[in-house]
């Protein structure tokens, strides 16, 4: 026993540790990373998980079903080479067949059913809906990527350099922000496709269609502002951090600091706002397609399918209901998933 108030060393403190003491510092489980933590929180959120699976199912079917489906989105089933048009294929009800198909069934052949029937030009409606979903999703995704790239570049430059650069960029952002966006989108989309069509001729872009390209251009011109505002705000607060100062003291230049320190630290905000941008873009695309300013015919998109269905609405209401339900489902579940993502990965943003 050590005596009180002596300078003697306590020998007990230098004995080998017992097993019980050792067990205190054993790592019970591996340290969780930021990413894994977020996933765990996300999986606990039932609404977000269900939404994610709905989105996943829709995306996978939009991508893969056209590969093995026996009909294509633009082939009119009544049109056979060298024969007159067979009108029995137009406007088929769900699970009904055309005349030549009836003959084939009578001959013992198995004919793949038209699940949603056919449209007024004898095209299989199910595959048109699937293809339309594919187009709408692709447009939404790529438009968001374009917005992300432009917004991130401009926002991080404004936030990092500050001062006059920031002032000019932000005044510019203010002005674009106060433009009535939908009106400008409609105006630009209606005129751009005329100007772009001759310029695109012969390039790979021609296949995509001048309307979709003009849609991307419009998105790139107008919708980067909110993304750049967000990034700028993040960068402004991050650049005052000590590690940025340390990096600059070590001689790092602007580009290095932005790409290595600032952007990785606002990556979760970027991902979340991109995820929430996709349904907006899908919404805008379908809105424009509905007005006849979206994809070029015969390519379908969910908006143009709904718009086409308006003509035969009293006889074929399901042709309106199907794309309507798909759009609402996509937009709703993407929004809910984006909200879940925000709650899981950026607790600061939680309201």
């Amino acid at each position: 026993m050590k005596k009180k108030l002596t300078m003697h060393v306590d020998v007990d403190s230098f004995l080998p540790a017992t097993d019980e003491e050792k067990s205190y510092i054993v790592q019970m489980r591996p340290a969780s990373t930021f990413f894994r933590d977020g996933i765990k929180r996300l999986l606990k959120n039932k609404v977000a998980t269900v939404s994610f699976f709905i989105v996943l199912v829709i995306v996978l079917s939009a991508v893969f079903i056209p590969f093995f489906w026996p009909y294509s989105y633009d082939s009119m089933l009544g049109m056979q080479p060298g024969q007159p048009m067979d009108p029995s294929y137009n406007n088929l009800a769900p699970f009904h067949f055309g005349e030549t198909e009836h003959a084939r069934i009578a001959a013992g052949e198995r004919v793949f059913p038209h699940i949603f029937g056919t449209d007024s030009q004898g095209r299989d409606y199910f595959i048109r809906v699937v293809y339309g979903t594919r187009i709408s999703l692709a447009v939404g995704f790529f438009a968001s990527i374009i917005v992300l790239i432009i917004g991130m570049t401009i926002g991080s430059i404004a936030g990092y350099f500050g001062g006059v650069v920031d002032l000019i960029v932000m005044r510019f952002v203010d002005i674009i922000y106060s433009l009535p966006d939908m009106l400008m989108v409609i105006l630009l989309a209606s005129v751009l496709k005329l100007t772009l069509a001759p310029a695109l001729e012969g390039t790979i872009f021609e296949k995509i269609g001048s309307n979709i390209i003009s849609l991307f251009v419009v998105f790139g011109l107008l919708y980067w502002v909110s993304m750049s505002r967000l990034i700028r705000g993040q960068i402004l607060s991050l650049r005052e951090q000590e590690y940025v100062l340390a990096s600059r003291a070590a001689g790092a230049k602007g580009r290095w600091v932005i790409t290595k320190h600032l952007l990785p630290n606002c990556i979760s905000v970027v991902i979340i706002s991109t995820a929430l941008q996709i349904p907006n873009a899908i919404f805008t695309e379908s809105y424009l397609s509905f007005l006849g300013l979206g994809v070029n015919a015969p390519m379908p998109s969910l908006g143009s399918l709904a718009s086409d269905a308006l003509n035969g609405l009293s006889s074929y209401p399901y042709r309106m209901v199907i794309p309507a339900v798909v759009i609402s489902l996509i937009v709703l579940s993407l929004n809910l998933f984006g909200d879940g993502l925000r709650d899981a990965f950026d607790p600061k943003l939680r309201t």
Binding site: D174, I175, S178, L179, P180, M182, L183, M184, I186, L187, L188, S190, V191, L194, T195, P198, P279, F283, S286, Y287, F290, L291, G292, L293, G303, A306, S307, A309, L310, L313, S314, P317, M320, V321, A324, I327, S328, V331, L332, N335, L336, T351
Partner: protein, 308 residues
């Protein structure tokens, strides 16, 4: 009103004027970017007739001179004659369409405001009860449904399946569905906005003080909570108008309402460019002014709020 608020209002008015000028400039350059010019028609016309047309509309003058003429005319809402509806001025067509559209929009906005505030307040006061949950589920669905989808589904339901209402929007009865369609999204949005701001207010100290003093719950709700929780709703009035304007483009199309939205879309498909430019400018001015009013109102109601 202190000098800071005044400065903010002046800055905000400056931004609004700048925005209108930019919209006018964009429409001018968009018009000139059209290949072949706005007067390229389907019918072949002689070069002499083409030159005469261009001289008549001043297209032979240098670009900057054309621009200043255009700017001056646009500020007077003089957009020249329509290309497709012979003998009618664009401004008259717009004024005609506006009569129906403004009626439609105002009623829709009124319904959205009243119903939204009531539902939002009810949801907040019955927080986490069944009523609240039902309201939240329904409004979530409405918020993520595009207006054209909503309109089309209502059309299917009421005119095709139930045949209760006419599908044509020219009569008074025919305006019921377009009004409902237009009001559902802003209504759902206002409900959610009111609910969250009401919940915020109900957690404030002054509400607890009022309760502790023994103020009746009716008095607390109407005298203390509701008024303060409506402040964020004011900011939504500008965006709501923008939504109703763009929403009316498709809604008028779906229900065949003879308003400005329908004539806008028709003029786009007809390539009636003076009509397209004129309508864009008029609607843009409307939206910018409404945004301006709602921002200023917000600042005046609560000067603590910093909108920068």
């Amino acid at each position: 009103m202190n000098s800071k608020t005044l400065l903010y209002i002046l800055k905000r008015i400056g931004l609004a004027i700048l925005t209108v000028w930019i919209v006018i400039t964009i429409t001018f350059f968009v018009m000139h970017a059209i290949p072949g010019g706005p007067f390229m028609s389907e019918k072949a016309i002689t070069p002499a007739a083409q030159a005469a047309l261009e001289a008549k509309y001043g297209l032979d003058k240098p670009l900057h001179q054309q621009y200043f003429t255009y700017l001056r005319d646009a500020l007077r809402f003089d957009f020249g004659p329509s290309l497709k509806q012979r003998g009618r001025m664009v401004v008259d067509i717009i004024a005609d369409g506006m009569k129906t559209s403004v009626k439609l929009g105002l009623i829709a906005a009124g319904i959205a405001g009243v119903v939204g505030i009531v539902l939002g307040a009810v949801a907040a006061l019955r927080r986490n009860k069944l009523v609240d949950k039902v309201i939240m589920v329904i409004t979530t669905a409405f918020v993520s449904m595009p207006s054209f989808i909503m309109g089309s589904l209502l059309l299917v339901l009421f005119t095709v399946s139930l045949t209760l209402l006419p599908a044509n929007g020219t009569t008074w009865k025919g305006l019921i569905l377009p009004i409902i369609t237009l009001s559902l999204y802003p209504m759902a949005y206002i409900t959610r906005l009111t609910r969250s701001s009401m919940l915020d207010v109900l957690g404030q100290d002054y509400i607890r003080t009022a309760k502790a003093k023994g103020v009746s719950s009716m008095n607390i709700i109407f005298g203390h909570a509701l008024k303060n929780s409506l402040i964020p709703v004011i900011t939504y009035f500008g965006p709501m108008l923008a939504y109703i304007v763009t929403g009316s483009l498709v809604v008028e199309q779906i229900f065949a309402v003879p308003g400005i939205g329908r004539s806008f879309i028709t003029s786009i498909t007809n390539r009636d460019y003076p009509m397209v430019m004129g309508t864009t400018i008029v609607l843009a001015v409307l939206i910018v002014v409404m945004n301006l009013i709602s921002d200023i109102l917000y600042k005046v109601v609560d000067p603590r709020i910093n909108l920068e």
